[in-house]
């Protein structure tokens, strides 16, 4: 059965939305690019936009905070984090279930607000018969989920949710079997600790590693992550900043860079790096620039098989 990764939320820290100014800017840039061209039909114009314009003109990386689904093709759902992307993910689950109760396995990197804020808007939590298992390595996970729905912050208390919600504690660096999926958490450097997850099924390996700072002076730490990423088909990586920012003005902020993502994936012989947890202050053109720089760095430093480099956006789907 084919594994599929769906990105419902890819932004870090806080949700962002395109503004009217952003849309006018994209339209103006598209018109400049099309200067002198005429299009006889919508289809011709669409083909031009699809093939000749930059991603940052025709798309947006999107604004929901982290929520990434692993679709294993079975009855149960698997998802990393409950950022604001959990709202559209919940809509997807409800539509797919067509009134049948769902079973959703959640894996929490940590409980900072941007990673839990979507849960109060996760539709299946309000459907009787739904089972939600929230896996985490943190002792405070349940407390955080309950706290954000406590009065006066939210009108519906956690205890009023109709779904059966279970909190499951996982041990780091220990493989766990969760409904046929092998899951191994790994401790990461972040305020209050975060945990990456390595998922394995039918020979496919996917790593979800967000909110993770890498201290470059620590070779043992780098080797530990290279082992965690080893031979992964896909590594979803916290690439919030450019390298110069990550190790200077934003050192100790708990995040990493596109360049360190390339280096660790090369060390690990991973196949596909997906830049993730985008800085909310960055516009689409800046994010596209960071992607191009990461791809160029990969070319310059390549010594073996090429590493594919992508940037996650809300709505992206990939097969490992």
């Amino acid at each position: 059965m084919t594994m599929r990764i769906r990105f419902w939320g890819t932004r870090g820290s806080i949700p962002v939305a395109l503004t009217s100014y952003d849309i006018r800017d994209k339209l103006a840039r598209a018109l400049v690019e099309a200067s002198g061209r005429t299009f006889a039909s919508y289809e011709e114009a669409h083909a031009f936009a699809s093939t000749e314009l930059d991603f940052s003109i025709t798309h947006t990386f999107g604004g929901h905070t982290p929520c990434v689904e692993l679709d294993l093709g079975g009855e149960e759902y698997f998802v990393c984090d409950m950022g604001s992307g959990a709202r559209p993910f919940g809509v997807h689950v409800l539509a797919k279930q067509s009134r049948r109760p769902a079973t959703v396995n959640v894996f929490m990197s940590h409980v900072h607000w941007d990673h839990i804020m979507g849960f109060p808007f996760f539709g299946p939590a309000y459907v009787p018969g739904t089972t939600i298992r929230i896996h985490s390595c943190h002792d405070v996970c349940e407390q955080a989920f309950r706290l954000q729905q406590a009065a006066p912050c939210f009108p519906v208390a956690f205890s009023q949710l109709a779904a059966s919600i279970e909190f499951v504690k996982l041990e780091p660096d220990t493989p766990h079997e969760v409904s046929g999926l092998t899951v191994t958490p790994h401790l990461q450097l972040h305020s209050g600790d975060s945990f990456g997850y390595r998922f394995e099924k039918d020979g496919k390996r996917v790593v979800y590693s967000t909110d993770s700072e890498h201290k470059l002076e620590n070779r043992a730490e780098a080797e530990g992550f290279a082992a965690f990423f080893r031979d992964a088909d896909v590594v979803i990586f916290d690439a919030m900043y450019a390298l110069a920012d990550a190790i200077s003005v934003k050192a100790d902020w708990g995040h990493s860079s596109n360049i360190v993502g390339v280096e660790l994936c090369q060390m690990a012989n991973a196949r596909h790096l997906v830049l993730f947890h985008h800085e909310p202050a960055n516009d689409d053109a800046t994010l596209e620039g960071l992607l191009k720089e990461a791809r160029r760095f990969e070319e310059l430093t390549r010594s073996g098989e090429p590493l594919k480099v992508s940037a996650a956006y809300d709505g992206l789907e990939i097969e490992p």
């Binding site: 390298l243 360049i259 990461a294 160029r296 310059l300």
Partner: protein, 124 residues
Amino acid sequence: MALQVRSYANALVLGVAGRLDQDNCEAFRADLMVHVERSAHDGGAVILDLRGLEYISSAGLRCFLLASRQAKAQHGRIFMAALQPMVAEIFEISHFNMVFQVFPTVREALAAASSEAAAAFDLT
């Protein structure tokens, strides 16, 4: 990685050659810091002559950053000079070209350090 050291008035030129990555950056950083502490203070400058540097990783760039912080704390300066095209591109990709002052040649970096340093270079 041995540093080639030359002195011009109030500027010290350190020649860096080979690859600078996680395998050798800690030893390199220790050597570099000794020179920075001695020379990049009270208006003095250290110029890293990178014409022989073939590759630099993120760990190597961090060494430069730490040296720059040390120099600033001592009211000194660090300049980069004579980057090979690949290293120059890595500086741009990592946005380190916005962190450091980069000069095409050692002579131009020395002129930015002081007229005395440039004059001393011209005499050699």
